[in-house]
């Protein structure tokens, strides 16, 4: 079906014409469509007759009848689709034929309309079709997608497609019939308003007897209103919560190590050694190494400059190696392998009054910004 979804204009017209022909007995109540029915040509009415006539004798299986009807309707409008598959036009015709048999025929609304020949000719067949309806409308034993589609189109049309297709709304219908009445010089039909339901009687509030003090106003006097109580409580709670949250940010006990700490005397860091024992507690390597011709003691931050993992010091290879993406750093912290874009950072370090090395983690020094020349970033060994 996928390749047949798009209808040509000719097919659409054919479908519309077949539809119009089939729609007449159903929609004969509106004069405009009845006028249209007058203009039906012989071929269309003949096809319609054929469609209804096939339904009439109550065939054993409705699918046979409907396919025959579809074929005849299709033959009148446009040649049937190739390959034996029903075209949209055929489906529409079939759906309309079913609809015609299934819907009881309503008499025309306007009595003064001249009896149309086509409509008159159609009426008896349509009525007979209505008689034949129970047999024809029997559900088929096996449903193929074409018949499901047809059934869906016939029964469950989601809504009017065009304005002329739309059923007249009650008010409009009244107007139309009123206009018809004026045309036939009859008395206008009076509009009858539906009776309104009775409204419950409002119970009257008990008035306090004169002289008795009204105590209901006490709370209102005290806090304004119940709404005010609610919002006051809400804002007070919110304010207290915010204050509590602010207090939470300044805990009594800080579990994290201080940013300034002492790591021992200078002599504890012999030349060429990377001290790793402070990594677990403070996240720092203390290194005594030659950097740019000067023997220095410096503290390296144990955070890889690529994505922040903690590298390992590999003594045998004399390098820091990151386990996440393989970045490598020399003993001085300069990156040389893997993706790390810049050297490890240094912490501030100085000699405290008691001769111990004190490291200040609140200050870092970046080599790429030229900060390793800063005397705060190292101690001459």
């Amino acid at each position: 079906m996928a390749e047949k979804k798009r209808l040509s204009v000719a097919e659409m017209l054919a479908a519309a014409r077949a539809e119009k022909g089939a729609a007449v007995p159903v929609a004969a109540q509106t004069p405009t469509i009845a006028d249209g029915a007058e203009k039906l040509d012989a071929a269309e009415s003949a096809s319609l007759d054929a469609a209804a006539a096939v339904v009439k004798p109550a065939p054993p299986a409705s699918s046979n009848a409907s396919s025959a009807a579809a074929k005849s309707a299709g033959a009148a409008g446009k040649p049937a689709g190739a390959g034996g598959r029903p075209s949209i036009a055929e489906i529409m015709a079939l759906a309309r034929a079913n609809n015609a048999t299934a819907t009881p025929v309503q008499p025309p609304l306007a009595a003064d309309n001249k009896p149309k020949p086509a409509a008159a000719a159609l009426k008896p067949t349509a009525a007979k079709a209505a008689v034949a309806k129970p047999a024809a409308a029997k559900p088929a034993a096996k449903l193929d997608s074409a018949s499901i589609l047809a059934a869906a189109r016939a029964g469950l049309k989601p809504g009017p497609v065009s304005k002329s297709d739309a059923p007249p709304r009650p008010v409009q219908r009244q107007k139309n019939s009123a206009a018809d009445a004026v045309a036939s010089k009859a008395a206008p039909v009076a509009r009858i308003a539906p009776p309104a339901p009775l409204r419950p009687i409002k119970p009257e509030a008990k008035k306090p007897a004169a002289g008795v003090e009204d105590r209901r106003g006490f709370l209102e006097l005290a806090v304004g209103s119940f709404m005010a109580i609610g919002f006051t409580t809400l804002s007070v709670t919110g304010g207290l919560f915010t204050l509590g949250l602010a207090r939470f940010m300044f805990p009594n006990v800080l579990a994290e190590p201080p940013s300034r700490f002492k790591v021992g005397a200078k002599e504890g860091f012999p030349a060429g050694k990377v001290e790793t024992k402070f990594v677990a507690q403070y996240g720092v390597w203390v290194v005594n190494n030659e950097f740019q011709g000067q023997q220095q003691i410096y503290a390296l931050k144990t955070v890889c400059t690529h994505l922040g993992c903690t590298p390992n010091w590999l003594e045998a290879e004399q390098k820091f190696k990151c386990p996440c993406h393989g970045s490598g750093f020399y003993k001085d912290g300069v990156n040389f392998e893997g993706p790390a874009p810049r050297p490890l950072e240094r912490y501030a370090v100085h000699l405290a009054d008691d001769g111990q090395l004190e490291i200040d983690k609140s200050k870092t020094f970046h080599e790429e910004l030229g900060q390793w020349a800063d005397p705060e970033s190292y101690i001459p060994a």
Binding site: A280, H306, T310, L314, A316, G328, P339, P341, R342
Partner: protein, 441 residues
Amino acid sequence: MHSNGLFLQDVAGFLGSYYISVAIMNAVAAFVLWQSKKQVGWVVCWLVFSGVMLVLASLALSGSAELVPALPPMVRNLVNALSGPVNYTLGTTALFSMLFILRKFFVQPMVAWTILNAMLVIMGLSMADENFASIVMKPDNVPIVGLVFLLAFFTWLATSQAVVNDERIKQGLPPMEKLNDEKVLVWPDLVYTELICMVAVSALLLVWAIFLQAPLEEPASSVKTPNPSKAPWYFLGLQEMLVYFDPWYAGVVLPSLVVFGLMALPYIDFNKKGNGYYSIEERKFSYLVYQFGFFELWITLIILGTFLRGPNWNFFGPFEYWSPYKVEVLNNVDLPQMFWVGLFDRPLPLAPAGASVLTQVGTILLREAPGLVVMGAYLLLLPPLLAVTVFRKFYAQMGFIRYMVMSNLMLLMFTLPLKMVLRWTLNLKYIISIPEISLNF
């Protein structure tokens, strides 16, 4: 560490049942083939294979460690020696090219079945190696072993249908999908299927959760990183990408581009063919680019990251012991270093201390000039160049905007393999390296 008796005794029970299930699988296949009264030669073949599997199973279950079937050490050492990032990538690329070019051969059911059996046997023989088994049987990695087989199956399924359709289209017939286009209903057909799948998958996950314990480790610490430290298995491709790039690019820009690029595909695509049916011939360009991005740049990187990356993110062969002390020389340098120092033998341009901001910016721009020129040419000059040469037809059909989006997405995708190749061949670290503002490319 080499395979020792204790390990082999542990793994023997598993291997025995493994070989028995392969034997049963092939016996069933032979029976089904025999029932269909076709390809009698293959029936005999699978029956014999099934028998061989039973022999292997009995060897594994014999109780003697020496008899457990395993790859000879020479083969294992050879595989280890041959494996490396370069060979791995070249090998997978060659493999996928071969599968693509000879797809008409490989989609034959009997050929595919042979390949599946070969994969299973190699897997079983490798499992007798302690290093291999310790990686493959790790609870984290089991899904990836499943992924390898599932991907192979679904790729085969889709390719075989595409090959059939291509053949039919060549003969002027409609593709298979158009022959029977009777629609099924969402309710109850699809919803019931989904319900059954849901129950089955839940049952599988329950069994999985019971038998494979969660790989829990010690409490996390900000100063202790496990070695190797691996991302969840579905992100291992990303982690491998990060080896070659700065985090902002490989961790933020490229993944976003993957998502947005995939979203943009329907709007870029101008090929009306191949809609609603499998076909390779009718959409060769789309097929190849997508498969390259998916298989080569995502799946093989996941497999590489899972099975072949060990401690310190070093590359290890499949049968190699994961030693954290493996030394690998991976020195690499930035392009400015290569250009100024290597080519002209002069130091990098350096702003004097205390220079004004403008001087510093100018110096950095001068230092990075080669990289900026290369990247500018790559992203700005290549699209128009391609438009008038290779993609002339595409440009005419797509129009300026769609062509530019397509070409830029493609060029950015190709930055990854290009950078990998440059890293391996020239030890190039970054093309543009401005660590002062954390901008590296």
